[in-house]
Amino acid sequence: MNPQNPMDRWIERHLARLEFGRFLRHTAEWLAAFLFVFGAVVLGVKLALPNFWPGVLWLGLLAIPVCVAAWLRSRNARFSRTDSAAMLDQALGAGGLLMTLAECRDARWEERLPQAEAAWREGIPRVRPSRFARFLVLPLMFAVGAGFIPLRKANTEPILRNTVGRKASRDLEEMLDQLEDVAVLEEKERKQLEEEISKLTEETKKNPLTHEKWEIVDSLRERMRVRLDSAALEAAKARDATGLLSKDLAGDGPPLSDERKIELEKDVIETLRKMMKNGAFKGASQNLRDELQRLTKNGQLKLPDDPAERQKLLDELKEHLDQEWEKLEEARKKCQGGQQGDCPLCGKGDCKGGQCQGHGHGNRPGRGGVNRGRGDANLNLDGDSDAENTEFKNTVLPPGFLDDPKNQVLGVRRVTPTVDPAESAVRGAKRKYDPASGRETWNRRLRPRHRSVVKKYFETK
């Protein structure tokens, strides 16, 4: 074969073009498959194995061996020279002469072949890369799209267990902080609460809260709330008493009786004593603190007798008590989690004028009533009134109750509480018929006329 011969050169060109076309075809097909697989792997890594990102992108280099394999594949099934000559013969319309001359060289007949270069060029098939690119468009979009899928972030934070118990402990600690900020706790009580809460916190880290632990959590929470409420009430009471005394001294408003004045003065002194003991005057002005220090003799606080001096002290006290009360109110709101209202008695927010409208009695756990509450109030099923319940219990009136001009004060009785509110918290209350007492409720005898009531009460609607 003479390589310089134009016919041979064109046949070789035709053959090379065929081979290139086949190579492109195989490459496009195999690359399309590879891109689909590559995209799927990238997608899988991004969604399931994020630690392998972006190392998985190195798999893209496998496209090179894929192309090499496609080239080898196209070489294995390559066209023969006979095939190429036949195709070119057809394209030129040579009637078999080109095929013949490709097999039997004869210069006499080669002149009969097309001599024009353009005719031969027309016979060479054209490679259109766009045709092969069509194969790759969709797989390429898939692979690139897989690369843009957001990486799934692995949760590196340790898994917290018993989050509910921890939160409860944290809430208790925050409540205690609030109580310390407003200085309503005595040192002994503060240490006791602190110790109990820290103990509870430690136990919560190890084990989830049990029923008994939840009882303790509720008891502590209630205890601190009650302490805060009582402090707020006392502050409000002292503030009001200070205001009344100040107005009376200034001759503004209705005059107070001497007994009333003494009573109010005692209230103020008692409240101030407690506040001083708890350190609630740390935030007061230096002048006020000095004045109070001066008035305290032998541990007893006494208001000055001089009217001007008394007036000035009462005004300063009222201002300070106002601030303290506001701080206490703010602390109460925080401790109640913003779920309850301002009323320290019922917890509702619509008790206007500081007067409790009686919400919540019977609706709150442990408050008794006729609803289907927890039912842990004492039951008296013998039909007789309890001697203790024949009298009204002494209750602390809500702030401003006495200031309502429509009300007429018949008398105020000051009674030392017989029950510590903190200890009388619902959770902590001893139950008469708890299982430990040996007198279980179910073991008691009910009168026939009460049985239907009890039965109806526990019936499921």
Binding site: D83, E103, P125
Partner: protein, 370 residues
């Protein structure tokens, strides 16, 4: 008195006509070196044009038919002409014999024709006081045998031609008698008269290189025939090609190159006629009962070479194969009854084959095509 010879020892004398040229080795399949030169092709072309002109003088308006006849003669094949009476089949053969200057015999096939009436028979003769069986050659011992209305003879008589057509000799009483070369059988048959006819068996049909359907002529041609031939007599034809020139044409035909791709096409075309082969067209699988034989492939190649020489080419191409495909393949395809019901004919099946089988074994990939 000389001893009497036994029947087996009887001498059979071959009475070959003196005017018949001795057989030349036209079947030499040895390597053919070199392509035909343009001069050789031109020489053959001129001779064949004269030949065609002569045939055209006798047979008017049938150029395609005449070219097929010439192709068949160049390929040294036998030809079966099928057509209605009066279309000039016999006239064509007579004109052929006149132009070629070959020994021509005509046998009118009838139902009572016997094989010995064709091939000849030994006859007891008394020569110089001794009797011997002398073989008297039949009409088959000619260069050109016209078997007129061949389907009227019985299969027994028809089969008398089998050996002669394939082997170019006949065997009588164990003695082979070579036929003069070239030897052509040109048969005719009428497709419409079925009563009293015997359709040619497949083996007999397969030996005919060409089966050509002789069709009618146009009105212009008929007018010319009416004008020039008052009593239907053909013009006197002179010998155009003598034996030497014919042998030369045979030689040139053999030297026509058949490219590898073309031979591959012929092989795939013939293979595709077999319904059981993979890659055969769906219609072949449905309607063809038996496909073409290897003899058909050989005939395709030979006639394609002849067609190429007639076209003035040193090589056969795909066009030549397609040109002779109908004449070579159609009578070799045996269709089943379903094909008849569906209206398929062998010619239609060949058309389908030519449509389906690609010329080049591996075509240009679709993505590279324009």
């Amino acid at each position: 008195m000389p001893p009497r010879k036994s029947t087996r020892e009887k001498r059979v004398t071959d009475s070959v006509p003196a005017e018949v040229e001795p057989a030349t080795d036209v079947w030499d399949d040895g390597p053919v070196e070199g392509l035909l030169s343009p001069a050789e092709v031109d020489e053959a072309r001129q001779t064949l044009e004269r030949f065609l002109d002569g045939l055209g003088t006798a047979i008017l308006g049938q150029q395609e038919l005449l070219e097929l006849v010439v192709i068949c003669v160049l390929s040294r094949g036998h030809m079966l002409l099928e057509g209605l009476p009066g279309l000039g089949k016999t006239e064509l053969v007579k004109a052929l014999s006149s132009l070629l200057g070959l020994d021509f015999r005509r046998v009118q096939f009838t139902p009572d024709l016997l094989p010995s009436d064709i091939v000849g028979s030994p006859i007891l003769e008394d020569r110089d006081g001794s009797r011997s069986l002398v073989f008297h050659k039949g009409p088959i011992f000619a260069n050109l045998l016209l078997a007129d209305e061949i389907n009227r003879a019985t299969p027994k008589t028809q089969s008398a031609l089998l050996e002669a057509m394939q082997e170019r000799h006949v065997t009588v009483m164990g003695e082979s008698h070579p036929l003069p070369l070239p030897f052509f059988v040109l048969a005719t048959q009428n497709p419409i008269e079925l009563e009293g006819t015997y359709p040619l068996p497949e083996a007999q049909l397969d030996r005919f290189t060409f089966k050509i359907d002789v069709g009618g002529v146009s009105a212009e041609t008929l007018q010319e025939i009416i004008t020039t031939r008052r009593h239907g007599q053909s013009p006197k034809l002179k010998e155009t090609i003598d034996a030497a020139a014919l042998n030369r044409l045979f030689d040139l035909t053999d030297r026509v190159h058949l490219p590898e791709a073309v031979s591959n096409y012929i092989a795939r075309l013939v293979t595709a006629t077999h319904p059981e082969r993979d890659g055969s067209p769906q219609d072949v699988g449905r309607f063809v009962k038996f496909g073409a034989s290897p003899r058909a492939a050989i005939a395709l190649a030979t006639t394609a070479r002849a067609a190429a020489l007639l076209a003035g080419k040193p090589n056969a191409g795909f066009d030549e194969v397609r040109r002779v495909a109908h004449s070579v393949l159609a009578h070799r395809l045996i269709l089943d009854y379903a094909a008849r019901l569906e209206g398929w004919t062998p010619a239609k099946m060949v058309d389908r084959l030519l449509e389906t089988v690609s010329e080049v074994a591996r075509e240009v990939p679709a993505d590279l095509q324009a």
